[in-house]
C-alpha cells in the first residue's frame, strides 16, 4: 500500500480534517487537565520543603516544555516550507507562533510567582530565565516580522529564516541549568535518570503536560483553519465550503 503523503498538504483537504482533529484534541485536553488538576490538588501530598507553593509545578513545567517543543515544531514547518515551497507549511508555522508565545509567557509568569516565595525574588538574570525570555522575544519577533510583510509567501520566507536561526536557543534553554550555575534548579525529570519527585506529583505533572500538549494542538489547528480561510479567500473550494456550511 502506498500512502499519498501530499494529500493533506493541500489546504483544501487539510481544512475539514483539522476541524475534526481540533475537536478531538480539545476534548482530550479538557479531560487530561481535569484529571491532572484533581491528582495535583487532591492526591499529591504537600512538599516537605516548599509547602503548597510547589503546586505551581503542574502548570509551570508543562508550559515550559510546550514553549520549547512548539518552537521546534514551528521551525520544522518553517523549514519544510522554505525547502519545498508548500503552502500549508508556512501557514502551520504562523499558526503555532501565538500559542507558543502564550506557553512561554505562562512559563515565565508562573516561574516568577514560584520564585518569589522560594528564592525571595520575582526575577533574576540567570541563564535559564534569560534564555526563556529570549524565546518569548523570538516568538514576538516572528509574529511581528510576518505581520510587517504584506505578501504572505514572502512573509513565510522571512519568518522561516528567523525561526530557523532562533532554534539555536532551544538547546541553550534546556541545558542552561547544566552549563551555567543558575538559581533555577536542575531537571527533576530527565531521560537518563529516574525522576527526583514523588510518584503522584510526577503523575499529575505528566498528565497536565498531555493536557497542555492537546490544548496546543487544538488551538494551533483552529488558528491554521482561520489562516487557510484568510489566504484561500476567493478560491472555488472556500466559496463552495462556505455555501454548504451556511
Amino acid at each position: 500500500m502506498s500512502i499519498n503523503w501530499f494529500k493533506y498538504s493541500s489546504p483544501q483537504t487539510f481544512f475539514p480534517l483539522a476541524g475534526t482533529l481540533a475537536a478531538f484534541f480539545g476534548t482530550l485536553a479538557a479531560l487530561a487537565c481535569a484529571v491532572g488538576l484533581y491528582i495535583g490538588f487532591f492526591v499529591a501530598p504537600t512538599d516537605a520543603q516548599q509547602g503548597e507553593s510547589y503546586r505551581i509545578i503542574f502548570i509551570h513545567v508543562p508550559a515550559a516544555w510546550m514553549s520549547m517543543f512548539l518552537y521546534v515544531v514551528m521551525a520544522f514547518w518553517a523549514g519544510v516550507g522554505l525547502a519545498f515551497n508548500t503552502r500549508l507549511s508556512g501557514m502551520m508555522a504562523s499558526a503555532i507562533a501565538p500559542t507558543g508565545a502564550l506557553f512561554t509567557f505562562i512559563a515565565l509568569w508562573t516561574g516568577s510567582l514560584w520564585g518569589k516565595p522560594t528564592w525571595g525574588t520575582w526575577w533574576v538574570w540567570d541563564a535559564r530565565l534569560t534564555s526563556e525570555l529570549i524565546l518569548l522575544f523570538l516568538y514576538f519577533g516572528f509574529m511581528a516580522l510576518q505581520a510587517a510583510i504584506d505578501d504572505p509567501r514572502r512573509a513565510d520566507k522571512a519568518g522561516a529564516l528567523l525561526a530557523l536561526v532562533g532554534v539555536v536557543n532551544v538547546p541553550i534553554i534546556y541545558f542552561s541549568v547544566k552549563w551555567w550555575n543558575t538559581l533555577h534548579q536542575g531537571a527533576s525529570v530527565s531521560l537518563s535518570k529516574s525522576p527526583t519527585m514523588a510518584t503522584t506529583m510526577l503523575t499529575a505533572m505528566l498528565i497536565m503536560t498531555f493536557g497542555f500538549w492537546f490544548y496546543g494542538i487544538a488551538a494551533v489547528l483552529l488558528r491554521a483553519r482561520c489562516i487557510v480561510l484568510e489566504r484561500e479567500r476567493g478560491s472555488e473550494w472556500t466559496t463552495k465550503y462556505l455555501r454548504a456550511a451556511a
Binding site: 487532591f42 503546586r55 505551581i56 508550559a63 502564550l102 510567582l113 488551538a219 480561510l229 479567500r233
Partner: protein, 49 residues
C-alpha cells in the same frame, strides 16, 4: 491530600496568592486565546463569503 475546609484550600498553606495567581492567569489567557480564535474565524468566514 485532604484540605479540611474550602478556606484551607484557598489559602494553600499561605501561598494562595502565588498558586492562584499562576492558575488564574493561565486560565484567563487560554480562555482569551479561544475567544480570539472564535472571533478570528467569524471574521475570516464573513470576509471569505
Amino acid at each position: 491530600m485532604t484540605w479540611g475546609s474550602f478556606d484551607n484550600f484557598l489559602a494553600m498553606g499561605g501561598y494562595g496568592l502565588y498558586v492562584w495567581g499562576s492558575y488564574g492567569v493561565t486560565l484567563v489567557l487560554m480562555a482569551a486565546e479561544l475567544v480570539l480564535l472564535a472571533r478570528r474565524r467569524r471574521n475570516a468566514v464573513e470576509r471569505a463569503r
